[in-house]
């Protein structure tokens, strides 16, 4: 664990990083901002944890709780909105039993997060499932994908 923290710290020092880049590295490494990580860096850099949390709570990219094993990102851009993204999101939240006010199911299997615009508006509505961008999504297609995820039948490739 400490090794990973040290790795992030040395990258920060080499690349003239800032607190945001440290948090981005922690988020990428662990999937969320672990409390022990924040306190470790706070100690090493002599920066109050409040400063870290101030940044973490300002930017949408950071999560203070662990994400689910499968991350479904629903685009809520204007084009996706007029093409029915709200309905897709409602059906996802219902089907995956995401509690009110949260974004991750209680069994930590699924996270449904909303983002403001992924910039693929011509193929709206867009749902990104485990980093694979799916365009022209319909309620039927979406439920089929969710079924596949639940049964653990497909490996999603990281195109990016």
């Amino acid at each position: 664990m400490e090794e990973k923290f040290e790795g992030i710290l040395s990258r920060y020092r080499e690349n003239e990083g800032n607190l945001i880049s440290i948090l981005q590295d922690i988020e990428n490494e662990f999937g969320y901002l672990r409390e022990d990580a924040i306190y470790w860096f706070s100690e090493r850099l002599d920066v109050p944890p409040a400063k870290f949390y101030g940044i973490a709570t300002f930017y949408a990219q950071f999560h203070l709780k662990p994400k689910g094993k499968n991350v479904i990102t629903a685009c809520c851009g204007t084009a996706c909105h007029v093409k029915g993204s709200e309905r897709l999101i409602n059906s996802l939240v219902k089907e995956l039993a995401i509690p009110d006010g949260e974004d991750t199911s209680e069994d930590l299997k699924f996270t449904v997060e909303k983002v403001n615009c992924v910039g693929a508006c011509s193929i709206a509505p867009v749902i990104i499932i485990n980093k694979a961008v799916n365009g022209k999504m319909t309620p039927d297609k979406l439920m089929k994908e969710v079924k596949i995820l639940k049964e653990g039948k497909r490996e999603y490739t990281d195109y990016i």
């Binding site: 003239e16 945001i20 007029v82 615009c117 910039g119 508006c121 011509s122 193929i123 961008v133």
Partner: protein, 610 residues
């Protein structure tokens, strides 16, 4: 280039036909193209070539070219097959179609007519004038030589070896280039202020935060031709005297980030970035900073705060960044599209650029045309083109045979242009006069099934959640505006609500600290201006004319058309429909959550919405 090297599998006619032909295949590999299956299509072509016994010799370029966005995303995957300079474009290509294209078209010499693009592909491009996008879809964004072969970095050589910084600025001034991020400030004037600003150090920042929902112009340029942006930055840095550059790019664009890093590395290897560029004693390095998901960081002072590692909260201007910016030093922030124009202007001249567009809005603009339009995609048009031509000639009109209701421009800072003013020319001044803004280029087309009050509410949901919280007018104002709009869409609108909205909008506009708050009221003001009757229907009649606002809708089953097929019962997520087979069904209003699934499912038009 693909040369006719036949590796034994099928000799004879193959060798004769394809020897010594220049064959080039271009597959769209922007985010949209990849989502439509571009990667699989590319490997299918590679397999098909291998199976046909054709060996690609990789000399300067690969036989298979990745290209960036050609614009017509709705027709992905688009594939160009270019043989000896003759280009044929295929649309909707799936991996299993690659084999036939290779055997019948590339080897056999006959294109497959059924799979080629139709007239609409050409009319989509007829009225467009590509400057910024001229090399997108032609160059391989991951190969600097591909860019150089089309004149890339010629402008850099010309500027650094034969011109002075002030001369460069004069050319940009004469071209009439205005900031493409939305504010439209004359770029040459801004650079002029920077060169005159005193300081031991200056910075040039490229704003690639593109936060407007519905906009993907900048993403496509960075994914499709990142070198044009880098070249623009090099020329800009030379002009203002900045040794350090940053590209602030949003993290939600991973492919663009990757290609940008690669392009910067390649430019450095070739000596276009780093120390003593082209031996002219100019130093310039570019670092990439990732955004972390905050719309407000597209605002220049918030962006600067973010690069400095802080919460992205704007500060009061003056002093403007050009006097006191990053770390307190003179800083120029330019949008991706603005910078991508620069190499072309320096190469072809200010007069060429100024010959396009109108008197006050020169050149071209890239728009992301989306929504209820038939031909959805990325377009570049001369400034001043009538909106009608964009919607009907380029866009092909409204999909599904519906009617145009409005065109929303400028994202959450903009307004809606109703169909009645579709002849408005698209330039900075004309859009401002009708209550909207050019914005960064998002253009969302709406039809009669869109509710304008709902659209205003959607934008306020966005701006309220993105408000940084620093100033009261925006932090509290957007929240209250959203509350009022929500009440109206839920059937709890009151007498006096419209006047209250207008008055509150005015307060928020005039007293907010930054552009986010100052423009957040625009969608409301614009929709009240042109669609007051819709607001009144929601408030006084508790009715949503477009049939969108769920709480004002009810679904019921029409006895005379219901066949009792149980299809609606089966899709109802709430279990609100009762009935037996072959008998008329019934929707229980108390349980119905108004999701509309039954309406979409019924094949007999037996569900009434309203």
């Amino acid at each position: 280039m693909l040369h006719g090297e036949v590796s034994g599998a099928k000799p004879g006619f193959l060798a004769g036909v394809i020897m010594n032909k220049d064959i080039s295949i271009k597959v769209c590999m922007g985010t949209g193209g990849i989502a439509a299956g571009g990667v699989e299509v590319m490997s299918a072509f590679e397999k098909a070539f291998a199976a046909a016994g054709i060996q690609a010799t990789v000399e300067k370029n690969c036989a298979m070219h990745k290209v960036g966005c050609r614009g017509f995303c709705a027709r992905d995957v688009l594939v160009d097959v270019i043989i000896d300079g003759d280009k044929a474009t295929y649309q909707y290509i799936k991996p299993d179609m690659a084999e036939r294209i290779v055997s019948e078209h590339i080897v056999g010499g006959t294109p497959i007519a059924d799979w080629l693009v139709r007239d609409d592909y050409h009319t989509f491009h007829d009225k467009q004038v590509k400057v910024v996008l001229s090399d997108c879809g032609e160059v391989d964004p991951e190969d600097i030589d591909s860019y150089i072969s089309r004149g890339g970095y010629e402008a850099t050589k010309k500027v650094l070896t034969t011109m002075t910084p002030q001369e460069t600025i004069e050319v940009i001034k004469a071209s009439g280039l205005r900031g493409r991020g939305g504010a439209g400030f004359p770029t040459g004037v801004k650079w002029d202020m920077a060169i005159k600003a005193p300081g031991p150090v200056k910075y040039l920042i490229c704003n690639a935060d593109e936060g407007d929902p519905g906009a993907f112009m900048d993403r496509s340029v960075v994914e499709g031709n990142p070198h044009a942006v880098i070249e623009g930055m090099i020329i800009g840095a030379f002009a203002i005297g900045a040794p350090y550059g940053y590209v602030y790019i949003r993290a939600e664009y991973p492919l663009a980030v990757e290609r940008l890093h690669l392009a910067i590395r390649q430019a450095k290897e070739r000596g276009f970035l780093g120390k003593n560029i082209l031996g002219k004693g100019i130093d310039f390095t570019i670092k990439v900073k990732l955004g972390a998901g905050a719309f407000v960081c597209g605002e220049e002072t918030a962006l600067i705060a973010s690069i400095e590692g802080k919460r992205g909260q704007p500060r009061a201007k003056p002093p403007f960044p050009v006097q006191k910016g990053l770390w307190g030093y003179p800083t120029i922030i330019n949008n991706v599209e603005t910078l991508a124009n620069v190499p072309y202007i320096m190469r072809k001249g200010a007069a060429w650029y100024a010959s396009m567009g109108t008197e006050k809005s020169k050149g071209t603009k890239v728009f992301a045309l989306t929504g209820k339009i038939l031909n959805s995609g990325l377009i570049e048009v001369p400034m001043g083109i009538p909106l009608r031509e964009i919607i009907y000639d380029i866009g092909g009109g409204i999909e599904g045979g519906r009617k145009l209701k409005a065109v929303q421009t400028g994202g959450p800072s903009g307004g809606c242009l109703p169909a009645s003013i579709v002849d408005t020319p698209v330039d900075y001044e004309s859009l401002g006069k009708v209550g909207s803004i050019m914005g960064s280029g998002g253009m969302v087309v709406l039809d009669e099934t869109d509710c304008m009050v709902n659209v205003a509410k959607y934008f306020l949901e966005f701006t309220k959640s993105e408000s940084c919280g620093k100033c009261v007018p925006c932090r509290v104002g957007t929240k209250r505006l959203l509350e009022i709009l929500t009440r109206i869409t839920e059937g709890r609108g009151r007498e006096g609500d419209i006047a209250l909205l207008e008055s509150l909008c005015d307060d928020v506009k005039t007293s907010s600290l930054c552009g986010l708050g100052q423009t957040a009221p625009n969608p409301i003001l614009s929709t009240i201006r042109y669609y007051r009757d819709e607001y009144e229907a929601h408030i006084y009649e508790k009715r949503c004319p477009a049939g969108v606002c769920k709480d004002l809708l009810s679904y019921s089953i029409l006895d005379e058309f219901c066949k009792g097929c149980t299809a609606c019962m089966r899709v109802c997520p709430a279990g609100a429909i009762i009935g037996e087979k072959k008998k008329t069904h019934k929707i229980i209003q108390d349980i119905c959550i108004k999701c509309g699934a039954c309406f979409e499912t019924c094949k007999f038009k037996a569900i009434k919405k309203g």
